[in-house]
Subunit: 209 residues, 2 copies
DNA sequence: TAGATTGTTAATCGATTAACAATC
DNA sequence: TAGATTGTTAATCGATTAACAATC
């Protein structure tokens, strides 16, 4: 929609702006210049102004930015005001932790059900949810207007589950499985790859010795 | 140490090379050209050759790369052969999931203890570990030669814990707390920020409508 | 008004891609 | 040897930074 091509580099800075502006609001700071924001967030003032101007002129010359207004603007740009329905697939350790993760509400995602393929998990109560049988994934997704799936399953079989989910109409995947999923255009995948993160840490530790 | 300045962009591709080469090994593919690797991994052949040549000439003209040798080389570059001792701080949902995460061994990290500040958690058995009192963090880190800390605690108080850990001699942090930690030079921080990831997904979903 | 700070254009820097000589 | 494919230099592209006129 709308905006000209925004680069991924810019997009991944937006949540950080949002967080720092939220912190400023908590501290009852009402006004901030790109220079001041630069000092606390660590990006150059120039980059901050460039980034923001991709989406509109939110500042005022000689004054800076209104913290609350900018916080709201970025929230809207991030789509935090929109509500998406989600299912979580894979109710193991990580899946349960994610299901309990409080950040969903803030991001406008609402978990509607937990699924697992393991008969020993099915029927268990986790938070407010009974774990459902993965067999019923497609019908549930179709009947409940599910927009995204949170994938907390092992890499083997992940692509199969994804194919089924996409077939059922899902439009986004928050993927914790350590594999690069193949999806058609129009389906968004956001990866959280713990192994890649850990390997990066390992590299940096080694270089730091 | 050693290598000339390797950019973060390159470093973050290394785990991916390692993973794809591991997959090829499993499929008993013994030899691969940058062009073939490009087809499966999605980077350009040119980029693959540039990336690898930052660390040495691992290929052979007219032949390509030996999969097993390259897999090992990249493993060594990533420091997967080195062993680091770790403590996990914050034994809540996420902390427990991470403690159970199998990837540590592969990356050469060994969890030595779990800590929590909540009296109700202290003493609990999780996996092979009894949850210890955060009060004793410094002494444990000093006495057990701990190299890294895995931080699974809320953002408030995270910086305090980090200061104490650094004081006790820790050299790296795998940080799941949604806050940018301040650390002196010589201490590595690798962030896994679920909120930022989720907000990014939210943005992309919205733009995709 | 004078001072401050934005929005935006131009310059710089760094990362990716293309090209090709070297060589297995 | 001829063909294939690397290693590496040069060209391009994109992102960041600097500069400054516009303007509050």
């Amino acid at each position: 929609m709308a905006e000209k091509n925004i680069s991924m580099a810019v997009i991944r800075r937006l949540p950080k702006y949002h967080r720092y502006l939220g912190d400023l609001l908590d501290k009852e700071v009402h006004r901030i210049s790109s220079k001041e924001l630069s000092d606390i967030i660590g990006f150059t003032a120039s980059q901050i102004r460039q980034d923001l101007n991709n989406f509109g002129g939110f500042g005022q010359q000689g004054y800076g930015y209104n913290v609350e207004a900018l916080h709201n603007e970025i929230g809207n740009i991030l789509g935090l005001n929109k509500i998406y329905n989600a299912v979580l697939v894979g109710a193991g350790n990580l899946g349960q932790a994610i299901a309990n993760y409080a950040g969903f509400r803030k991001a406008g995602f609402e978990i509607k059900a937990l699924f697992d393929a393991n008969p020993r998990m099915i029927g268990l109560k986790i938070r407010d949810f009974e774990v459902l049988d993965s067999e019923n994934l497609e019908s549930f997704v179709k009947e409940n207007n599910i927009d995204i799936a949170i994938l907390c399953i092992p890499k083997n079989g992940a692509q199969d589950v994804v194919d089924r989910l996409i077939n059922a109409g899902i439009k986004g995947i928050w993927n914790f499985a350590p594999v690069d999923l193949e999806v058609p255009k129009g389906v968004i995948v956001e990866n959280v790859n713990l192994t890649e993160s850990l390997f990066t840490l390992s590299y940096l530790m080694k270089e730091n010795e």
